[in-house]
Symmetry: C2
DNA sequence: TATTGTTATACTCTATAACTATA
DNA sequence: TATAGTTATAGAGTATAACAATA
């Protein structure tokens, strides 16, 4: 079989680097996700926090941050924004930590966000079979968790 | 076969999202690459530009930017830095664009950078077989190029 | 009129440090 | 002494707009 020549394209000295393709794909996927969530008034970090609170009602702010790799200092304004917009509620569990839960509005928004994210993933990864997608998830997950 | 229960870990509502794992892995890989290049006084973007110029001597600044997804406005200070440190040279090709080449010092640095990046990739992706690595490269590359 | 390169600038993300109050 | 949350702030990366010089 004859291979296709890229006669006009410049040689790409990064083509053999997995990390490079990981980075390029991550950038375009994040851009698409940001656009998909924008109509809901959410950024990717907002949505990930809502999902984490929905799945773990009563979780504390710092535990959300630990799970998502977001520093405490950066969680504070993020949570303040979701509180201020009425999407989450919190009650003290001891004097320093607060249990987080979705409000009714937050739960409704979370539903719409999950739908938007699902459509986003189907759009961006449509060229991968279900099996290829699952295999890639397990490989990527194992790789980042071993350095976490 | 009995599956392992994650009795103490919080449910992870993002576990099924390929984009999430892509992002988390990209972050840790970039952090490792940054650390690997730091002793050479290079950042990942610097190294990618050096590699592109080495593989395409005479390439213009804007074509480097197009190939790497870096805006012209952001290429200017990057190139100025490499010029100022004597790693690249440039000569006018017409009145507005310049052909870029590595200097001798730049070529030597490039060699060391390639070695550092190679060791970085071997370290970070050591748990993937050669075949799995190649398959993942071709899948990731196809995915980001279809949105480029 | 379009392109190359430059400057200035703004915005987002991420990181550190310092502080409080609680345990 | 360690932890939860907050604030302030600094740095990197990335984005837009405007400009000069040239094609």
């Amino acid at each position: 079989m004859k291979t296709v020549e890229k006669s006009d394209a410049a040689p790409d000295p990064l083509a053999h680097l997995l990390g490079y393709h990981l980075r390029r794909l991550s950038v375009v996927v994040m851009a698409d996700l940001t656009e998909a969530l924008c109509p809901l008034g959410l950024k990717p970090a907002d949505a990930s926090v809502l999902f984490m609170i929905e799945a773990n009602p009563g979780i504390t702010q710092s535990d959300v941050g630990k799970a998502l790799g977001i520093l405490r200092a950066n969680m504070a304004p993020l949570i303040a924004g979701l509180l201020g917009r009425g999407f989450i509620e919190r009650e003290p569990v001891d004097g320093r930590s607060h249990a987080l839960r979705l409000s009714a509005a937050g739960a409704a928004l979370c539903l719409r966000a999950k739908s938007a994210v699902g459509r986003h993933e189907d759009r961006v990864f449509s060229s991968l079979s279900k099996g290829a997608r699952a295999r890639m998830i397990s490989q990527l997950r194992a790789l980042w968790m071993e350095r976490q």
